[in-house]
Amino acid sequence: MRRTLAILAGNPLSALGVLLIALVVLSAIFADFIAPFPEHRGAVVDFVNFNKPPEWPYIFGTDLVGRDLFSRILYAYRISLILGVVVLAVAVPIGVTVGLVAGYFGGWTEAILMRITDVFLSIPPLVLAMSMMGLLEPTLTNGMLAVTAMWWPWYTRLVYNLTRAEKEEGYVLAAEVIGASKAHIIFREILPNCVPSILTKMTLDLGFVILIASSLSFLGLGVQPPTPDLGSMVAEGAKYLPDSWWLTVFPGLAILVAVFGFNLLGDALREIFGVDQ
């Protein structure tokens, strides 16, 4: 703990990462209390105050139907975070298990599992997601499904390489000589040694999942209106540049803050866990 604090204190960028993420997470959780116009997250129309530049009480301005951008960004954070957490919660266990099994058993198991992984990795992520969304209905659930399908192989790759290295360690030999089960060796001996790297990657990925989800929405394939989403907000606002600049700039900045924050936090974790990549 002391070491952790010392690292954060010694590296202002890491501290900034922690700060930014705290800001994002807290605003997502407490959006109901912070947002000046909570009802603006839905289909509200206020033609008196539409398309206003930043001015009190609309500090980020309003959109084309008069909704407060600041309130909508807070709620968009909430959806982005839920999306990121759900995607990782599904992708990571799958990817990690496949990687552990392929790395530990080797031989045919490894050959088959890793070739499947390679197939998924060889398809450009956005193309895969777009074709899936084309087949299915463009809903939030399907969006998550698409992003999950393209995310797990990265964890398989990571954990597979870690497992192959850990397998050579003496403690694995010791467990085998004792007669411990394969499940014990894989999940109780090897997995704990992969956890720091996995956690670090998850933190970095939260930012990227948000980015990908935003890209999908930007293309009109993600979260559907009137649900607030950073990607769709940027896409919508881009049509009115440069006059209504606030429509694009603030949601864009919001994406930047989240992605940048998770990246800095990931780097900090990497230093704290002593993980080198």
Binding site: G170, Y171, A174, A175, V177, I178, G179, S181, P192, V195
Partner: protein, 268 residues
């Protein structure tokens, strides 16, 4: 030899690497008597580690048999066979899982083999630690909080936990400082006497062998070139490779230098 605890009968192991067959162990036969310490001596490529791995059942011999108390060990080992033959590795830094406490590592063999009452097992880990000269409360520590010598004691305690009678010691002290090595060697000797253990002591260090082994088997390039009582090996080594090994030992006293000189003279 009456009723050896372990017998190897023309054991051969070949590995295939890059289309080439490499004979790592070539027609090796020897018996290990109950309660003795047999040293397996050789340099890298001698096949000593391959022999240890076959005895431990990490992989089976390509041909030949390994028998434990007269019973030929099958390709797939039963749990009871695993329990009977245990291992202490060279590097205690890697042989203990850094993410598990000392107690968790010691408890594993007890759980796997169902040794002792479930509720007593945690207590048992403390007793094992005390038997190797460590305080019982070390079980809640991480390996990283221990010195090299302490870690090796934990690894020894883990081998004892199975209550096996044959322990393969794979260079158990070569990663340690001399003062620590001396204490670990004494501990191993005491444990052997107290528990009536049989040791297969794999090492390249002949000075250690001289002081701990009853018999010595010398290996060169996968073949056993000489096996004899420890006295005979050091006073009348028959094979030139054995003589070379002994004269390569860096020594600290005049008597030792004289022994080496007498061996190199014979060579010339």
């Amino acid at each position: 030899m009456t009723n050896p605890i372990l017998s190897l009968n023309s054991v051969t192991k070949t590995f295939r690497t890059g289309g080439r067959e490499v004979r790592a162990v070539d027609g090796v036969s020897f018996d290990v008597a109950e309660g003795e310490c047999l040293a397996i001596v050789g340099e890298s490529g001698s096949g000593k580690t391959t022999i240890a791995n076959m005895i431990l059942g990490i992989y089976p011999p390509t041909s030949g048999t390994i028998a434990y108390r007269g019973e030929v060990l099958p390709r797939r080992r039963a749990l009871s066979h695993r329990r009977a033959i245990q291992l202490v590795q060279q590097n205690p830094l890697s042989s203990l899982n850094p993410k598990r406490t000392v107690g968790a590592s010691l408890r594993l063999p007890l759980d796997v083999h169902g040794i002792g009452d479930r509720s007593r097992r945690w207590e048992r880990t403390g007793e094992l630690l005390e038997e190797v000269g460590l305080p019982a409360d070390f079980r809640s520590r991480a390996p990283a909080a221990l010195s090299g010598g302490q870690r090796q004691r934990v690894a020894i305690a883990r081998a004892l936990a199975c209550e096996s009678d044959l322990v393969v010691l794979d260079e158990p002290t070569s990663a340690l400082d001399v003062l620590v090595q001396a204490r670990i060697l004494r501990l191993l000797k005491e444990l052997r006497e107290r528990r009536g253990l049989t040791y297969l002591f794999i090492t390249h260090d002949l000075a250690v062998v001289r002081n701990i082994a009853d018999r010595v088997a010398v290996f060169e390039k996968g073949r056993m070139v000489e096996i004899d009582d420890v006295e005979a090996i050091f006073t009348r080594p028959q094979h030139p490779y054995t003589r070379g090994l002994i004269s390569a030992v860096p020594v600290v006293t005049r008597e030792e230098q004289e022994l080496k000189d007498s061996l190199t003279k014979e060579e010339a």
